[in-house]
Amino acid sequence: MNARAFTTDVVFGVVPIALVVAIWQALVSFGYAPVTLLPPPGLVFDRLAQQLMTGTFQQEIAATLFRLFAGFAIAVVLGVTIGLAAAASPAVNAVVRPLVRVLAPLPKVALYPALLLLLGFGHESKITLVAADALFPILLSTFYGASMVEQKLIWSAMAAGTPRREILFKVVLPAAMPSILTGCRIGLVISCIVVFLAEMITSTDGLGHLLVTAARTFQAVDMFVPLITISLLGLILNGALEALRAFLLRGFPEVLCNV
């Protein structure tokens, strides 16, 4: 892609977002929507900037981020381990496959009440829910990535005298990396969404809790602030993962270009 096409893309991409904000502003300023229901964008962004400076708001973000990362980290560790194990050993695969088949389409959020009863209303139940939801995309893409590794690569490594155990880490894991990272990306977005929802359903802190409190007191401005914050967080985390991906996949130019 040359620089000019890139600039055109950026301009075209900004237009609809600007348009949405403009329509939003127009709806308010021409009086189609009362300010109490739809606060003007300027007010919302002012409030967001003002909130970001306050310590309490930062604490709420920290609580949300802690749960998000804890759940996501558990999901990555479990997903990659189980995925690799299932791809490497037919016996593990025979056990994991039917379990995943049943558990993957299950709406995990329905398990949340059970988690509340078992783990309490604190961090644990929310982290478990995030991990359960982010686990399957990571597990599945690790599994598919690892089972697609070219057999020739493994044979060459064996011929070169690599012990079986090391083949998994030196050949299969790097070769499956692009696929694993794609799974992680889906898992990350899911973690963002799930942590917010769990906080909305029952919580005493976090961004989701802020939204619910604002909704109970009909503070429309404060309802938009956590939503925009979670969207920004998602974009930032996605960007960070993209940078990590570019770093980890330096050896895979063909995969990087496809993004």
């Binding site: 993957a104 299950l106 009440p113 059970a114 509340l116 619910v212 979670i230 969207s231």
Partner: protein, 261 residues
């Protein structure tokens, strides 16, 4: 031998279900906790819920909203996704907007939408619609993008108009990918439905779940979880059957849906 193997392959998901229930039963017996009923107690409570007329009406109303939201979302998302896949301009126009919306939990919009539209069916259906749209758009986009140019050129050379090329070449070629998106969307519709009802707490399956939790009817809570889980697995299996019939010629890349809220 082959048939025995086929039977075994069919039976593994059932075995997995039974295994999970057995693990549940064993854990609850070991923990011996009041708030964690055994699997058998929970299963015994299922007929009680399904026999209760009000609960049944609630669950059916939830399913109706879900079906409408899913249907409208699919009908609108597929054309948009296909156009994004075939035209660079359309793609660069919508892509950033969709990226901004992507990490926003759709069910979290429930309080705001309720403020505008009230707590009726429209608000809940709209939230489901929003939840389903994005994966369907993205998968149709990816499917349409991967269509071979040569087929389009041949179509154009044989005098097909742009609209005809879209419906007769791009749509069938992208169909496997589109259906993968719809499958994700279907699971999502169920998740969004439950979540929005948990947040709005007014009616529906999610509401029954949390009311039971508040009143300490733990066997009802777990029975509802089984019902919702069975809905998810059942709908997914049904869709998979339909998908296999529609696109017999294409092997799915992922035979298990990547579900998320």
């Amino acid at each position: 031998m082959i048939s025995a193997r086929a039977v075994l392959a069919r039976a593994t998901p059932v075995l997995a279900c039974l295994g999970l229930l057995a693990v549940w039963q064993a854990t609850s017996l070991v923990l011996n906790n009041d708030s964690f009923p055994t699997a058998i107690e929970a299963i015994r409570a299922i007929p009680l819920i399904l026999g209760d007329k009000e609960a049944l009406i609630n669950i059916l109303a939830s399913l109706r909203r879900m079906a409408i939201g899913f249907g409208v979302a699919v009908a609108m998302s597929i054309p948009l996704g296909l156009m994004m896949g075939r035209s660079r301009t359309v793609a660069s126009f919508f892509n950033p907007l969709l990226m901004v919306i992507y990490p926003v939990p759709k069910a979290a919009l429930m309080p705001i939408i309720m403020l505008w539209l009230g707590v009726g069916d429209i608000a809940k259906t709209l939230v489901i619609f929003l939840g389903v749209s994005l994966p369907v758009i993205y998968h149709s986009f990816a499917g349409a993008k991967a269509v071979e140019e040569k087929m389009l050129w041949s179509g154009a050379a044989m005098g097909l108009s742009a609209a005809q090329r879209m419906t007769r070449i791009v749509l069938p070629a992208a169909l496997p990918e589109i259906l993968t998106g719809c499958r994700t969307g279907l699971v999502l519709a169920l998740i969004t439905m439950i979540t929005s009802e948990m947040i709005a707490r007014q009616s529906g399956a999610g509401n029954i779940l949390f009311n039971a939790l508040d009143m300490g009817q733990y066997d009802t809570v777990f029975a509802m979880i089984i019902i919702v889980g069975a809905m998810g697995i059942g709908l997914d299996a049904l869709f998979e059957k339909m998908r296999a019939r529609l696109v017999k010629w294409s092997e799915p890349q992922f035979d298990i849906p990547v579900s998320f809220s």
